[in-house]
Amino acid sequence: MKQAKTSGRRLVASSLFALALIVAACADDDADAPPGLDDSEDAVDDVDDADDADDDVDVADDGDDEVRLGILGQCEGPFGGFHEDTVAGVALALVNHAGATVPSDDTALDGWEGAEVNGTPIELVGVGCGDDTPDRILAEVRQLVEQNDANVVIGPLSGDEGIAVAEYALQNPDVTFLSGIAGSQEPTLEVQAPNFFRFHGEGAIWNAGLGDILHNQEGWETAAVIADDYSFGHTSTAGFVAEFCGVGGEVTSRVFPPLGTTDYSSYIAQLPDPDEVDGYFWAVGGTGTQAALEAFVDAKGDLTGDQHAGNLFFNPDLAQALGPDIAGAYVGGFASPPGDVQMPAIDEYLASADETWDSLPTGIAGGERADASAAASFGFMYGYYSAGVALVDGLAETGGDPSPEPLQSALGGLSVELPYGDIALDDNRSGIVDVFISRLTVDDESGEVVQETVALIPEVDQTFGGTFGADTPAPSRDFPPCEERDLPWVGNAIPVEDGVPQQ
């Protein structure tokens, strides 16, 4: 009797399970109907068989007559508020350059309609939902490629995700990847997947120009660094150190508080006192930006703006609590410059965003609704916009052919015209970009701390004059070392006054 009961239960359980399996498997088969099936099976085999990558070229030619675009966004984790921005960036690019329209004027997540380049439609097959971790983004990208059959993927958003997606790209040569705004060096420098393109800068690039200005213009001889102890903190630091030391400065101490630190006082205490060093470079993000600064004030003395510089986390929008004392500090660049930079192309771009959507819930407004141009002017949306424009340009180049080989070779040779500066790629398919350096100032009218652009560093590439390469270690707590080196852009900084580059 007991036998019958327990076994009966398991029988039911097993049958339900089996049924679910069959239903799921079959449902999936339908979705995967030819021609996608061949593609996706090959793609999957390649996961473990990267060496055979070349075999698949002929298969890929057989019938791609549309772009099935997947977007890797981020809807959870620290950047979860920027999910809408990612899709909006791509959609706006297609609205502006591929004749698309958006179905909704208050959300970007509905995608677009009618995007077409030379007769080739661009369809959105899915939006991946990352949470700032590589594991999750790998699951999402696999779903886009292997289930939704995407042949082009735009994304991801953050650095470590970028490494994971680039590795995945290496194993799936038939899919074309355009980085969203992932700010790590490795995806292009180290992994070098031939089908992974990055039309934006990264953590080190965005701090180019700071060292030159601080040493040669502000007269800093020595500096101390405090940065988050993870890859973006390390990469930001690497860009600063490479240049500051490169032009003759000396970094006397580097402090790396772990992520999740609540009380920064013990780490601040490790920094030299303000009279022992000419300045400090900060690359602490999240709650840490303000908490670490306040711990500094508590222990070392009031902030004097000209003794500080920071990476993009010194953005008053990201760290809304930055007080007026910090005014005078230099701030590294990001994909897009602060709002004071004015050029016709930029006005046009921002206006197009406002025309497309009435308002968007955007991360930069803390998830509140804001004008679409507010999102568009910030780097996250702009990075995805750049990728979208590059895709359209690449397709235009191939005459609308989205097959991997022509599209990827077209993308590699592009120089994309973008509102905040044209972007070409280096040999590793990473963007050579213009970096805008800004200072924090107190706005006369509102009394708020704002960013004021002071210089434009043209054509920064990620090797930093050979400091970083495929053979060098990844940026870490002690790499790169502090030594003099030649950087191609030193001395070429273009001053920016009142938002207008002086050239």
């Binding site: 205490a269 908490a291 508590d298 998830g367």
Partner: protein, 360 residues
């Protein structure tokens, strides 16, 4: 009839003359030796550490000690609510961190509303009321949400500890997602009142009075908690309930009401901690997990259910957090966070239920 089967282990401490005592004396001896070594290290050796030995840099030592104690104050406020709820109801409220973060977000928004601006707030603009009112509002919201959770999800399964823990874990997942949706992912911050934002000199080191203010608030909270538990009838019932739940039932006291009040107070304390934490370190997505973890570490060290334990746990944990980065050799100072584990291991090896804990 049985007075107590399996009482607290301390009963065995007195007997020395057997193999068994030796076995359990060993971890104890190791723990004491380790503690002594740490003290000697910090005071006299501390070679190659960022701070240097205390005898040669007393200012730094005193400041580090103050850092430890002031941060412990914040830890205590957060953890005391957690341990109070557990002590009376045996409910491990995994949503404690979520209540902390919710209160933090609410308090920040209230403060912004009161000041009429949300950025570039300087302390001088913040009156004491601009800080206290948001804190109380935030804490009240957390307390009400906590009470609702308790009434909806926990009241009817009292005693099923793990089920309750898992229920509150699920609530944590939902609340985190909803807070991300409503408050965004950016780091926000509450500003200390200007009247407490000053700096003093301690042995040549600058020190912020906001940290001392935080400690003062914590002491105040602790004192009120003590008065409530020791000087009121309900406190008496709660303390009796902590010791023996059946006895309280037998006395015919309306335990459901006491439970509700206790949960309310516990969540309120999480909320006070949230407002303080938002002023001290800011609040953002993910802070909930950090603070749940902080509470867990404190109560595991101190002993679940014991307010005394929460004090001791906060102090010890605060010490490790403040001293480890400063007094580890520079080469290893990145591993400071791992010392938390060493602390836990040492405490658990000697007292499996924490310093002041009793077996469930």
């Amino acid at each position: 009839m049985s007075t107590a089967v399996g009482q607290a282990p301390q009963a065995g401490d007195g007997t020395a003359d057997s193999k068994r005592s030796v076995v359990y004396a060993l971890p104890k001896a190791v723990a004491y030796a380790a503690a002594a070594f740490v003290v000697v290290w910090v005071l006299f050796i501390a070679g190659d550490s960022p701070a240097g030995p205390a005898v040669s840099n007393p200012g730094r030592f005193v400041v580090t000690l103050l850092d430890a104690i002031t941060f412990a104050g914040l830890l205590f406020v957060v953890a005391s609510g957690f341990t109070l709820i557990f002590g009376l109801m045996r409910t491990v409220n995994m949503a404690h961190g979520s209540l902390f973060l919710l209160a933090a977000f609410v308090a920040i928004n209230v403060q912004h509303a009161m000041l009429g601006k949300s950025r570039n707030i300087v302390a001088d603009e913040v009156g004491i009321l601009d800080w206290v009112v948001p804190m109380l509002v935030g804490a009240l919201v957390a307390a009400c949400v906590g009470l609702i959770l308790q009434q909806l999800f926990l009241r009817w399964n009292q005693g099923q500890e793990l089920r309750q823990a898992l229920i509150t874990l699920a609530i944590t997942v939902i609340m985190a997602d909803q807070m991300l949706n409503h408050f965004g992912g950016l780091a926000l911050r509450m500003t200390w009142p200007g009247s407490v934002t000053h700096f003093i000199e301690i042995l040549g080191q600058r020190y912020a009075t906001t940290r001392l203010f935080m400690l003062a608030v914590a002491v105040l909270v602790g004192a009120l908690l003590w008065l409530w538990l020791n000087r009121t009838r309900m406190g008496l019932v709660i303390r009796a309930g902590v010791d023996d739940e059946t006895m309280v039932r037998a006395l015919g006291i309306n335990i459901t009401f006491v439970f509700a009040v206790t949960f309310f107070v516990g969540a309120f304390l999480a909320g006070i901690g949230g407002a303080m934490g938002a002023s001290f370190a800011g609040a953002a997505t993910g802070s909930d997990g950090d603070w749940l973890l902080n509470s867990l570490v404190v109560v595991i060290i101190g002993g679940l259910g014991s307010i005394k334990g929460a004090v001791a746990g906060s102090l010890l944990y605060g010490m490790v957090i403040a001293f480890a980065p400063a007094y580890l050799p520079s080469r290893y100072s990145f591993y400071a966070i791992i010392l938390t584990f060493v602390l836990l291991a040492v405490v658990l090896a000697v007292r499996p239920y924490g310093l002041f804990g009793r077996p469930a």
